[in-house]
Structure formats: C-alpha cells, structure tokens
Amino acid sequence: MAPAFPSGDDRADFGTGEHKQFSFHDIVLRNRLTALVVDGVDFCRLVEQGFLRSCGLETQGVNNGDAAVELIASGAKFDLIIIDMFLPVMDGLETTRRIRALGERCKIVGVSAYIGENDREAFLAAGGDVFSEKPVSPEVLIPILRELDGQYSNI
C-alpha cells in the first residue's frame, strides 16, 4: 500500500527526543527532478534550494509570485514548486491560482510561518497539493520526492 502523503503539519518533535524519520540525505533519486522555489527572502530561498539540491534536484529560485508565473508561462517545466505564502506584491495563494490557471499540474507545496486549518483549506482550494509549516521538513518533503521519482510505483 502506497504511503499517504503527509498532511504537512506533522513534524517530528525534536524537543521530546523522538527519533526523526527522515534526513535530506536519505533519498536517492533515480530520475532527474526539477524544482522551483518561490520565496521573497533571499537566505530562505538559499536554504530551501540547498535542501532540494542535497536531495539531488535541480533547482531555480525566484523572489516573487509574478516572476514565478512568468517563468511557468514562458514554458519552464518543474516537477515541484515550493511557494511561500507570504510573498511581496502577489501572495502565495494568488501565485498558486495563476500557476494552475496556466494549466501547470506539477506538485505544489505551500509553506507558511503560521499554519491554520483555514490557511490550509484556502491553499488547497487555490490548487495547491501540500501545505506545510516553514521551513519544509524532510518528513514532509522526502515522501513527496519519492512519489515524484516513482519510488512508490511498485508498492
């Protein structure tokens, strides 16, 4: 049975000493995967792209929603898009809507410093797939990458 996608708001509680299930070094990709990171804060984008690269993905980063939409509209293709909900000018929700309106069907993960059920519902309604607290953890990301890589296809 294929593992279900994580809900995005379950993270191993480091403070209780629970052993974390995943590390970003745990995954070995069989295929070339690409990701776009949309985050208005330069060092946050650096960190997020760093994690994805350590998992073996090729990444691009943009610092606002308009640039993300333009990139997709220009024909750029990604297996995964990670969007911060709090973006300058056009927020993450509107960015997600516009990307979906272009016909892009790749996996979209929304990240936010604060996550509430209303925020999650709004993101899913906008066309997003997984909503997670920022920064996105290995527990959230690794199962997504494995699914994109087809590692669950024989289960």
Partner: protein, 145 residues
Amino acid sequence: MRRQLAIMRQSLFDQGYLDEQFIELEELQDDANPNFVEEVVTLYFRDSARLILNIQQALERKPFDFNKLDGYMHQFKGSSSSIGANKVKAESTLFREYCRSANAEGCLRAFQQLKKEYATLRKKLEAYFQLARQTGPLETASRPK
C-alpha cells in the same frame, strides 16, 4: 578548542536556542560550501535586523496597526524558523497571538522579550562562529544527545 566548540554547540541546543533546523543547515555544509551555515546565519541577522526595526517603528505609531505588525512578525518567524532559532521563533508566536487579539500591551511586552532573545542568540552565535573559524568546523553535524 575543538572540545570547547563542541560544548558550545551542544549548549545552544540544550538551552533551547537552536533546534533541529540548524542541524539540517549544518548537513548542507561541505567542502564546496565550507561556511554555508555562517553565511546563512549572517544573512538572517541582516534581514531580521531590518524587520526588528520595522516592528519597532510600527510600535511607536499609535494606534497600532495590528495587521502590519502581524505581517512583519509572519516574515520574522519564517526567517527565524529557517535557521532553527527556537526561542526567537517561540517569542514570535507569542507576539503574533497578542497581535491577533489586538492586545497592545501584550505586543509591547512580547516584543521586548523577543528582542532580548534575539540579542542573546546573536551574541552566542557570533561567539560560536568566531571559535569555529579558529578551530575549523566540527567534522560531522551530529544531532545533540
């Protein structure tokens, strides 16, 4: 000195200043990016100093624009979480709760505490990285016991 560095690092986790996210950053550090963590942390303090100033200025204007304050804190928490700044992150959450309940006094108190935790973290990390530069980085990003 290596032992001193390791003890200093351990205490940052034991005292709750840093969380697992910091270890994830350390695991991104390699020969190609030997100073990655310090570079990221430096960028964080540069970015967050600007936000602290914005919040400070917003708290000097009456009545408080709680929406604007909430926005600044949203950014601040996201940035702080991204480097594993555990205590600062917790104070950000408390501040935001006061914002959401439009509690001006609570916001002021929470902000003072947040600035205190932020300054302490900055001082500790500066000392840590200064020692790390003298010692050379620890070989593995070990999870604290």
